[in-house]
Symmetry: C2
Subunit: 110 residues, 2 copies
């Protein structure tokens, strides 16, 4: 006897989720998540030197992670004198929310 088909043929959406993947990739490192959590909780901007002190990384590594977050638009840095201060990008949560709703149409986060 012949085998039945495996299933009703599924719809595989042919969308390009490359941008969304880039965003999640930037979230895929614990130190970068710590940076984001810090900026989220900080009432003011945070100096790079604070991250260099608190994270178990040397200064170039911190700069590297800040750059990755900056390049995907999740944070923004501003130099004032000798120091550079970072803050969460105003639309950071929107960007993540939009990426999520591109993948999951249904409600994800509260």
């Amino acid at each position: 006897m012949s085998m039945q088909r495996c299933c009703p043929p599924a719809q595989i959406p042919q969308m390009d989720l490359g941008t969304e993947a880039e965003l999640f990739k930037a979230l895929g490192d614990p130190h970068r998540l710590t940076i984001l959590a810090t900026l989220d909780r900080a009432k003011h901007e945070v100096c790079v030197c604070d991250f260099t002190e608190a994270l178990p990384l040397n200064q170039p590594a911190v700069s590297h992670h800040l750059r990755i977050l900056r390049e995907v638009g999740l944070i923004a840095g501003e130099r004032r004198g000798t120091w550079v201060y970072y803050r969460l990008a105003p639309d950071a949560r929107d960007r993540i929310r939009n990426a999520l709703t591109s993948v999951f149409r249904r409600k994800v986060a509260a």
Copy 2:
């Protein structure tokens, strides 16, 4: 004259966000996002063979991505006869939501 301090010393939360990073890392690939989007939209389970057809990947690569999503608990697979059917884990959205609220206390997704 001496330079002023850079800023009010920032609070760097000392939490371990390794688990959350693992979750986002699993989301950091466009093909895996396509798989998740498909499962989210599918009314029924989706056969592996459908992914193998639709994605520009060969069968082992598809299996590889399914395994990564399975190991972080975002999807679940069940073999029925020759075929294996995947579906979104019931708590997939909760897991993502919780990871996000570990980082961003404030509301992220709608």
